[in-house]
Amino acid sequence: MAVVQINNVYKTYHDTEVEVKAINGVTLSFNKGDFAVVVGPSGSGKTTLLNLIGGLDQPTDGEILIGGHRLSELRPSELIDFRKDHVGFVFQSYNLIPVLTAAENVGFIMSLQKWPKEKRKARTEELLDSVGLADRHNSRPSQLSGGQQQRVAVARALAAHPEFILADEPTANLDSKSAESLLDIMEKLNRDEEMTFIFSTHDVRVMKRARRVITLEDGKVISDEIRS
């Protein structure tokens, strides 16, 4: 069953004089357990597509269905709750909350969802352990390397059992070793927990690991390759 269903979606930006079609009639679906990358040159619409899937932006036309929810029918406040409960985000610049420790960052969404403290603590420990940061619970983001911060971001994204994770250029700021290590963790989570990952990337290391590669150009899907 499709976790994400995108039907003939358009996204047009009106610049001062020019109309820019960032997404131009895309139809795609992502299934549970996908480990997919969206690739393409700069300006091809990768980030826009991820923003639309994540409910951060609304399409100009077409529809996006996630777990039976038609995103265009949700009010802005419902979209925020939808993102909190259904989508995990991993950003290029980690975007952790600088004043919180690694454990508090991971527990943040669970606390927004009002999980009981004990349950939250157990899940946080489990996740930090799974991303190899069992010993850095109390470290602030500024005390962690880029790779470690991105692993905390992955743990945070997974915390509240989202239906899928959107990762926008997650390895862009990482060195090779950290990038490989992060991808190992994501692959393992995908394999063991059947967590769906949708990446946008320029990074060949991510592309090599992906089992599905979608290529965008000028807002259109020009290829959708499934690897065995």
Binding site: N51, G54, R83, K84, F89, I97, L100, F108, I109, R156
Partner: protein
Amino acid sequence: MILEIAWKNVWRNKTRSLIVITAVTIGVFAGVFTIAAMNSSVVQRIDAAVNEEMSHIQVNNKDFRSSSDIRNVIDDYPALKSTLESLPGVVNTTGRIIIKGIASTASKSTGVEITGINIEKEKEIFTLYEKLIPGTGSYFSSETKFNTAFIGEKLAKELNIIRYTLTGDALSKLESDGVPAEVVAKLGSVRDQKFPTDKKFSNSVATLLTPAELKNFNLKIKEAAWSYREGSKVILTFLDMENNQTGAAFRVSGIFRTNNDMFESLAVFVPENELRQLTGMEEGTYHRAIARLENDELTDNVTPMIRGSLPGYEVLSWKEIQPDLAMLADMMQAIYGIFMAIILAALAFGIVNTMLMAVLERTREIGMLAAIGMNRRKIFSMIMLESVFLSIVGGITGMAVSGAVIAATAKNGINLMKYSEGMEALGYSAHLFPTIDVQFFITTTILIVLTGILSSVYPARKALKLNPVEAIRGE
């Protein structure tokens, strides 16, 4: 969690937060302490007026004040007294005989108001006897066959009872009090010379000393030269019950010093029996009944009650006798309000500025929070709490510092001797004991928190307007 993040956010830029908190602290302290000092001068003036001059409520024969005729006495003082004492809030009463007259000495004479008093009752109601200048008498307590009078320092100066003379002893005392020998030597030229007035003495000393010496030692020199001969005589002249002019010599049984020059120069107190003998007023008759209340706050409630119980008499509260004081008290409330409004406005601008900076600096972070599912209410609350924390920490510290400094200075007071002449001419003490009531303290603290909340609205709304997509993208 929101509370925790907001608190931690306050301290992520420690320097900036500390600067804002310090500014708020200083602003609140400056405002509250200035108000406390201003308030003290009004409170002290009202206290002095009530405790030394008027008490809370006065009841007169209705024609007495307009005519000042000695025969306009209260018809049935014992009945009036028992009516007064039966009313709630009235804790003590006394009667006064009041006669306009002239006080004279060999060299001067001036108009005065002679008040015949029951000494023991006066001491229960008024604290004027505590204002006796040491060494000037005993406030009617020494046995004497003469008539006695208790007068103000200003009147004593006007009548030349107080003089200024730098005796040999006075000069030695000055030297032992730390006045340099060369200054004392300069003063030698006016040794044992008698100056009838403060002004003449000051003018003479000014010709001998440099301005700097005058500035440093003038008060000490004046104090040392202040001389008074105990038991000095004053002639009081007035009309008796038959409208015939009468009078007698009174020995000064003490000189009082208050902060009210007008009162000091007009009031002469004498025992009521001495005045009765001279005027022929009957025993138990008075022109004025004085009522002392439990506290000042009861004045507005008890005055109409007395008025209702005593028709045909003129009933006046201290606020009506000295409306300028009542108006001043009200005006001060308005001034405190304006003063605090200015300080709170400055606080608000400080908080808005700081929080706007914080929001603009954290555009990306706030965008991320919205992206991962933190709703608008929570983002608004977070920014609002940060502002409130800043104001609360600064405000509470400011209030605590104000409280401590007010408590410390209230004990020994702040002495503005330099301005004493001007302030005392207006009836105000130059020695301020800052004071503030608890209600003002609590109200101000609540207003500071409310200002913090209100000032957070604009930055918090600004945070809500951020588009997560643009916020995350922009770096």
